[in-house]
Structures are given as structure tokens and as C-alpha cells.
Symmetry: D2
Amino acid sequence: MVIILQNNASEKQIEDIKSHLVDYGFQIHESRGVQKTILGAIGVQPDFDIRKIRILDGVADVYRITVPYKLASRDFKNDNTVIKINDVEIGGNKIILMAGPCSIESESQIFKLAEIVAKTGTKILRGGAFKPRTSPYSFQGLGEDGLKLMRAAADEYNLIVITEVMQINQIDVIEKYTDIFQIGARNMQNFGLLKELGATHKPVMLKRGLSATIEETLMSAEYILSSGNPNVMLCERGIRTFETYTRNTFDVSAIPVVHKKSHLPIVADPSHATGYRDQVPPIARAAVAAGADGLIIEIHDNPEKALSDGPQALLPQTYINLVDELKAIAKIVNREIG
Amino acid sequence: MVIILQNNASEKQIEDIKSHLVDYGFQIHESRGVQKTILGAIGVQPDFDIRKIRILDGVADVYRITVPYKLASRDFKNDNTVIKINDVEIGGNKIILMAGPCSIESESQIFKLAEIVAKTGTKILRGGAFKPRTSPYSFQGLGEDGLKLMRAAADEYNLIVITEVMQINQIDVIEKYTDIFQIGARNMQNFGLLKELGATHKPVMLKRGLSATIEETLMSAEYILSSGNPNVMLCERGIRTFETYTRNTFDVSAIPVVHKKSHLPIVADPSHATGYRDQVPPIARAAVAAGADGLIIEIHDNPEKALSDGPQALLPQTYINLVDELKAIAKIVNREIG
Amino acid sequence: MVIILQNNASEKQIEDIKSHLVDYGFQIHESRGVQKTILGAIGVQPDFDIRKIRILDGVADVYRITVPYKLASRDFKNDNTVIKINDVEIGGNKIILMAGPCSIESESQIFKLAEIVAKTGTKILRGGAFKPRTSPYSFQGLGEDGLKLMRAAADEYNLIVITEVMQINQIDVIEKYTDIFQIGARNMQNFGLLKELGATHKPVMLKRGLSATIEETLMSAEYILSSGNPNVMLCERGIRTFETYTRNTFDVSAIPVVHKKSHLPIVADPSHATGYRDQVPPIARAAVAAGADGLIIEIHDNPEKALSDGPQALLPQTYINLVDELKAIAKIVNREIG
Amino acid sequence: MVIILQNNASEKQIEDIKSHLVDYGFQIHESRGVQKTILGAIGVQPDFDIRKIRILDGVADVYRITVPYKLASRDFKNDNTVIKINDVEIGGNKIILMAGPCSIESESQIFKLAEIVAKTGTKILRGGAFKPRTSPYSFQGLGEDGLKLMRAAADEYNLIVITEVMQINQIDVIEKYTDIFQIGARNMQNFGLLKELGATHKPVMLKRGLSATIEETLMSAEYILSSGNPNVMLCERGIRTFETYTRNTFDVSAIPVVHKKSHLPIVADPSHATGYRDQVPPIARAAVAAGADGLIIEIHDNPEKALSDGPQALLPQTYINLVDELKAIAKIVNREIG
């Protein structure tokens, strides 16, 4: 932590600041220039609230010089985290696709979509069983019955399952059926849930919150990692900005930034980011071109009748064509779709 | 719902759109102008996803002309909701103050602060017992022991208690000790929690999410109202913007906007909105001047030693002075602090 | 324009609203449902301020149902605008690259960079001569001397020139040397400047403002188009959001959205969007994958000594490699780099 | 400037970084801890682009520890700047009101409004003569004829005049009639204009840009100050956020923040911030309660017929009542309306 003193800070103020630093357990380095006096405080803990120093008299500004996360940082672990599930590796050279409906709606629906997913070489089947929605009057999901259907469809077509867990009391039932837990954007800072998932043994995909910085997303990953689960992947799904034409603004830069700051894989979700079917292929292509480690895409064979988010679901044929484009782009960035 | 067709929409497209509308259960009014054809669709349900129409060929734009919430709207209930707890009314002519520490830390701390709170005429004691924080390495609260201490302190000084509930499995224990449930900004769209709180009989204060529009905040209130609990108040606590000097940007306009759109009371939280002690009094005064029905403010007798959010806690004497200013401002807007 | 009346609007209010609409020159269609009365107002002018109706008693909401721009819309002109400069076409099948330094610094610098630009097959040379900057203490550009140097370098290597014009009184001098006028993000709503450039005969590249919606960007294009200059291309260069890791957030979705709403070409500027050299290649690739009609990229042979924005300039070899990647991606979206 | 090195920075990298710092003219302090090595670089100029260091190999992060503005800072000048115009002082104990129409429309209009303005004790008359608007099809102002009318009306009622200047070539004509130059939000970073106004002898009111941080606003003030004009006041008029109910989000916290960081007065503009008449009084009261040094408010005697921004103009009687409320609130914060 570096503390910049005000130009006119008095000796008494400086002594008082230093005494606070000692109380908080820091070692102090003092550097007096002509204009500025700077204090270096060594030993800051990740949870130290730097505002405690910023409000002291005589302090002009304070900078935390260590990132507030540790296990998630590239500094802590230089090699990419590669998450292995059966024969699939997420975070390695292959770019992993995940596809399926927003909500599991029926046996025939999920089997039909699983078949399409498998046919394109996509390895992971997505689908939601618990769907509390913005409106209390909307379809709320099939629950455990939906999970059973998705598991059966996935097994039939040799697919891995990813599904969202929204509350601690759903973990046990979901764990029976899923291979990957998904944490939705609204739960990114549901720290109780993060800790519980940190105690499970299955990989977790953590979606960035609508108003979360990249740093905060990594802080949330830290919760899971520090609770004992090393298999965390992040997911960029758009942030809230003033632009309203798309549902959210897909932050494509988050992909290279996460790769620089962290060893964790990052997946892109163009369906939720844009909210409209015709926006999904260009953003999916862009994500792969920018270096994403995976994509999660909503598809539906009859989106007009979909019980949730139909307007953002790709038709099967559009998805099939998109996968071909993605395969070609992957090669250009020296990777392959797997 | 109003559907604007593209200038060059074909008759076939128009027929197709109309047939979709009929399928979705709408009555249709058609209006053909020289340049534009407009379809009015009567009977939209609150949960209808208007993107289903927007993606049809020939559609230029779609507007939902009913707000997506109902019970929370001023249209549904014209008179202000007044929430009664013992002899205190929230949402009536009196502006209600709530004060106390961020976290309950010890018996002596909460009793000392409750005494100060009571002395200023403040009616409600705030304090957190469960504190999962952004960093997994921070103090996480005293839990039920903290609740017991706060209840005892409140009873000693004849105060009402408000405290945050973060997970469904905490409702039962918290309900034993609190008078008002607080839902934090991060949980504003934790719909499972909202529904469970809608089934309780105690008032709920719902904080606006960092990236939630006013409309979305009212949608979340609708979840609680439609689950059977009419005693909901909202809380403006700052939104996330590009400005980083303050922790969040306090949206003072939300106060008159909520009063216009809804009958629910709105409270302001200048402590979390700004994040810095010296910003709290000006924003508190501004909120009362703009028409807030209440204020929730963090105080601490020794903020440098506070286990959480000390930098934003007011010192007792500052709070006492602030209450005097607020009393004077309240009069100017024809209300009183109560 | 569609006006939704309040559920409890009185007959007197409805008459008053209709009389206002007649005064403003509208034809009225009235539609009374069980719950809602809706007025359609035909004949709204692009400049009509719909808030005039929204504030009338009895009005619940008002929607403009025509976009507030006309000449820039796909409705008005369905075919893509293709801007021809010498043998180069912007907005056609080819994706056009523009590259060069942030500021023109010296004869040797601009000639050396022009040579590199030409060698990669890039057709357009960029460079700034007037550089008022955020800080009044920074390098402010070489002015007309810089323009002369850039023109000479471009002619030597058969390149087209693009450079920024910041004030009306610079138009004449810049017009002597440039082929394309660039309007910077900060000037996107400098309407006086837009009108003057609308009266020139050279193409204009209009950069989206930091806090401008796509619709507002098209409104600004409308200023130029309606002043007589049809050769306008837009440029996405990042918007301001709460995320601070990158300088701005590159809104990759703006590319397909502009293509849907407008016939004007759209160029991407990954250098200004990200602010850091290592972010430029992934974002450049993403932009081409998402359908951009061109890219404008800053390069510098000695970025550490660059007089402005060196940290975001690509080294020549990085640019050369990037162009190869872009050529490959262009093919996948059925285009070519030209 | 403080440079934090990566944990694994090599000696060679450290030497290279230090050699760059020396080249850039810095003195270096080196501090090696167990985990982190930190370099302090003394002598950073306000215009130094810290990204030049951030991109060097081995650097983890860089902090500028001096604010990038100087003359505008409270550090440079501790006493509040008080701007004197005739017998009016802006920035002193009195809170100064400015009122008038958005656009000057006719002699009778401006005289009638000037009379109302004067009657309430308001000292400054506002009004626009040059009105380039978002839409090219809107009313564009009366130009110099409007200025003459406003000057005559102001002289008749002993008022001071404030009006907006949008382009350098308008300065001379506007200077003949106005007492204060207003710089609109869209021109906040029109650095050429700022410098020219810095060379005039009349006070300048600089409006914060829609997407400008407080720091950037102070940087723009620095342009005017460093060009020789010390009489600068700032104006908070709302920032762009994701909330769309109000036109912009009025950042009430900017008022105490500016007072902390700078000696310059800060005025609030509730009319442009909110965009709706019924929002103006609560926000005006909030601004005074938060410590604003002045308010600028649009009024119109017949807002339905106003040629621009009628929906946000207060009716005369509403303004008269508001001034009474503001006088009462001013007293509570130990000031008076003057």
C-alpha cells in the first residue's frame, strides 16, 4: 500500500498516520521528496479496507499495490488452469462449445436439441431447470424433473452437462445431475453460495455480474478457489451500459484482460449479452477471434414457442453454420474447436 | 402493446405477425397511415417477452404500453403505502431515521450506539449480523449472537430493529429478532429470497441493485407484493457509473421518480452510496430535500476500529448535528423527522 | 407517435390532449380498450420534442414510432453506401485498413511509417496534425506543416489520407491535404462543425462519442447527410463504462447494429478503444469477425518516443502480422482485406 | 509516480525500467520488500502519459500520485475562488441563482421573463442565442439578435447575463453582450475553445460533460485557468448512466467532491439534468442542501409553446415558490440566496 501525503501535511499528522499504520500491522517505508512525502506500507492483507487510511488527516491518496485477489492471479499461478471433465479440457488449446436451450421444457425438446448439439461436435449441453425470472409472473422452470431429462439426454449423446444453481439449498439436488455448476450474473456476489460451491468437487462457471468490474469478478472467483475448489472458469456475458439497443454490452476486451491477469479460463455468452438472435453469430465469432476459451450459446428448435428467452435462441441450422465459421476462425488464432 | 411495422412490410408479413399475436392471445387493433402501419395488441400479460414480436419479419419496433409491474404501481393503488410498526409509520408524513453500525461487533458497542440512536429521536436501529463480503478474507459477522445483542439493545431503548437477510435459510432465525427485513443490493434480483420474504408477515426494505433501473427495482418489489406481503419499502443506495471518486453515484432523482410511479415509500442510504464519512451529511440533507421517506445511516463510536465499513460511519456527534439539520429541512418540505 | 393515456384519465384531459395534438399539426387515431386508451398521432416531424406531450395531464407514456433520423436509416436507403476514393471503396465487399501514427512528428517518421503501411497493402494513411489534448500541458501537434509531410508521404506511397478536423476554422487548410475528414469522438455533437463538413465534397469519418448511443451517432450522421454530403462512415471507438481496466469499452455489437439500422459503413478503432498495445490485435480481429467495414489502427516505429499515445501504438512487425490474421478472418466472413 | 514491479521481475527488467525513467527525466527512489519492489519516480509533469511505463516488461502497475491538474486544485489555492461581477459574488457565502428561458425567442418573451427573474431576487439572466441541437431539423436560435434582446432585458431589470458560446468564431460577438460565458457539456473537451476563453477577461461557467469524471472536468477547467482566466465556475448537469427514466443522472455527490478537491465554485443545473419540469424543484432543493454555490434553472411563461426544451422549463409561479424554499434551505446550511 502506498500513501501519498498532502503537500501541507503537518509533522503531527504524519506521525499520527504512521502510528495508525503500525497499529494496523504494517511495516513503513518513508520517502520524502521536495514536494511530496510518500509512505510505503508493507504487509497489507487482501481484506484491508484502504479507506481506513484515506480518511486520515494529511492523507492525499492511497493505493493498494497488491491486487485484492491472490489465488486467481497470474502472479500466483503462471500456467493456465485446465479443467478436465471426462475427455474434455477447458482452458487448454481447444475452444469448448456449450449449447442448448435456455430452459429445459420437455423430454422431446431436450433430446432433440441434445442430438443437434452432439452432431456439431459440441461437447457440453446447457439448459436451465430452476428459472426464477425478473417477472414473478413468468415460467419458473421444471426443477428436478428437468434435470433428470437433461441428464438422460446428455448420457444418450455422450455430452457433459452444465446447469445453473441459484441457491444453496439446490446444490445437493443439482450435483446429482450436472457436471458443471453455473453461477448466474445475479449471483456473482452471492458469497454464501460461492463458498458452498467452493466446497464441492465439480467445476464451476462463474458469470460476470452486470455491473461487476473484471477485478470484482476475479474476487468472486477467489471465494470459490479459497474454499478449496480449483476448477473455476469465468464467463463474460455483457455489462450494463447506457446503450440500450442490445440487452447488455458484450465486453470483448474482458477476454484478453482476464488472460493477462489470471490463469482461469474465460467463456463468452453471446446469447445473454445481446438478447437477440441475429446478434449472436457476429459476437460469437468476435469472441473466438479475441481469444475466448469457450462459448455458451442458446439454441431452440422452435424458439417462437420457447418458454423463456426464445428471441435470443439460435435456430439449429444457424448454430450448425456458426460452428463451421468458428472452426475456421479458431485455426487463425492457432486453436481448434473441441 | 404497440407494434410498429416496417415501411416496406409485405401483406404476407403483416398477416403472419397478426397470426402470431392471435396465437399469443391478443386482441388486435390495426391502424394504417400513409407511411406507417401500427398494430395495437390488447391483453399483454406482465410476463410477456416483447422480443418475441420484435424479431418477426416486418416489425420495426415494439412498445409494451403497460408497465411490467402492477401491484407496485401508482395506477394500481393511488394512496401512499404507509407501513406501521408499533407506533412508527413509514411512508406517511414523517420521515423515519434508521441508524446504527454496519456490523454488530459486541454487546457494549451495540448498546452504546443504541443509546445514541435513541437520544436523537431516531426510531429504528440498524446493524448487520451476517456479513459475507467482497473479499473472502474479511470479517463475516457475529451471526445469531449478534442478532440477540441487537434485539436486547433495541428493547432497552425502545427501538425498532432492521437487519439484512442474505439467504433463505437465514429467514427463520432472523425473523425471531428483527422487525424489518432488509434485502441488500446484491440480492435485489434473488427472486427465490424475494418470494420467501413475500410469505412472511414482517415489512421488507428492498435495496436497489447497483445496476438496476428504477423499473427493475419496482419489478423486484412486485415479487414480494405478489407473494402476499404488502409492506415493502424501497431504498436508493447509489448506482454504478463511470465516476469513481465516490463508491457509487447516489441517484437523488430516483426519489421523486419512485413517488410518481409507485405508492411505496423510499428510503435513502447515503452511507453506502458514497462510501466516505464526509460525503454522508450533504447527501443525507439532499435526500430529505428531494422528498425521501426515510434515511438509513451508519454510525460508529470508534470507526477506526470498526470491523467493517468504518470509513463511511459517522461519529456520534456528527450524527447528532446532522439530525438537527434534517429536522429543519424536513419542515421546509412540509414534513417532520419522526 | 403513440400516446398511452392513464387508466383514470378524464374525458376533459383526453380532449385537452387531443387539442394539443391538433395544435402541433398531428392527425389523430383514437383506440379505446377496456383498460387503456391509446392515441396515435400521425405526422410527427423529426425535430418534435415528445416530452411536450409526456408532461400533459392524463398522459401515461409517449413513444416516438419513427426514428429521429431519416437519411441515415436503412428504411430510407436499403443499399449499402459505398464511398469511393480513387480506386478504393469503403462499405463494399472489401474491408479497408487505415494505419499510421497518432501524431505526425517529423518527415522521417511519417515517411517510414507510410512505407510500412503501403507494404502491408493498407490503403489509407492516418495521422494527426492538430492535437489539443486532455491536458493543456501536452504536445499539441505540428499543424499545417504536419499535413504537408503526411500528404507528401502518402503521395510517395500511393496512399489515401485521413486526418482529424477539430474546428470549423481548420476545414479549409485541412481540405487542401486530406482525402477524408475525421471527426473525433469529442466533436460528435459539435453540430456547427458537422454542418460545415456536410457542405464539403470530401468523405467524412464520424467517430462515436464516448457517451453516445448508436441512435445519437446516427443523428449526428444525419446532420452531415442533410447538409449535402452523402459520403459518411461511422467509427466505433469504445464507450465509457464503469470498467476501468481498458481505457474505454469497445462495443463490438455496435457493428451489426449499425448494419441493421443504417446503410452507412462502420469502421472500428481498436487503438483508442483499448488504450493499450497488447489489447489491439484481439479487438481488431474481433471487429473483423463481427463484420466491420474497416479498421483504423495506430502504429509507430518507436512508440516509446512517440509524442502522443505511444502506449497504444503497434510496432510495425506486430501490425504486419496482424494484417495477415485479418486477411484470413475476412475470408471466413466472405470478404477480403483491401 | 509510483511503479509497482511484478513479483517475478528480473534484474534486467528492473534496470531497463529504471533507465526509461531516467530518460523521461525522473529521479528514482527504490524500495525492495520481501514480496514487492516499488519504484518512486519524482518529477512527473502533468502531461506525462503513465501508460508509457505501464507497458514496460516487469511492471505490474503504475500510479500517478499527483493529480493531473494543478491550478484548479485545493492544494494549489486553499481559499475558495470568489468571482465578482458588479455587486454579485459567486463562490462566496451567497448561493447565486440564474434563471431564464432555454432559448431567447422574442423581445416580449425575454422582457417578461427578465421581470419575473428580477422580482424573485435572482441576479443572473440565462438564455441561449445559438442553439445547434441534436436534430438538424430543430430551431437553431436567434443569434446576435437574440443577444441584443437579452442584454436590453437584463439592463432594464439590472441583471447579469450568462449565455452559451459554442464555437471560437462566436466569442467576439457574444462577448459584446454577455457577462459570463457558458461552455456547454458537449464542448467540455473542446480544448481550442477553452483556450480562447482562457484569453478573455470575462468569467466562464464550464459544464461537466455527460461522460466526464470530476477529474476530467477539473482538467478542462485547468485549460482555461492556465490560459490566464482565473474566473472559472463549474456546473453539474447530470451524467449519462444506464437509468433512462430521467434524461441524465444528477450526480449530487459531485458538489461536495468538487469543494474538497478544488477552490472553484460549483453550480447545479437541475433542468438539463432531469429533463422534466416536475423533477426540477426536488433536485434544486437537493443541490442547495448538498452545498451548491449556485443554481441555473430554465423558466418559461408559456412552456407549451417554447421553441426548445419547454418540457423542462418551470412555470413562473413554480419558480417563485421554489425560490422561497431554497431561501429556507440555504439558511440551514449557513448560507443565503443572493
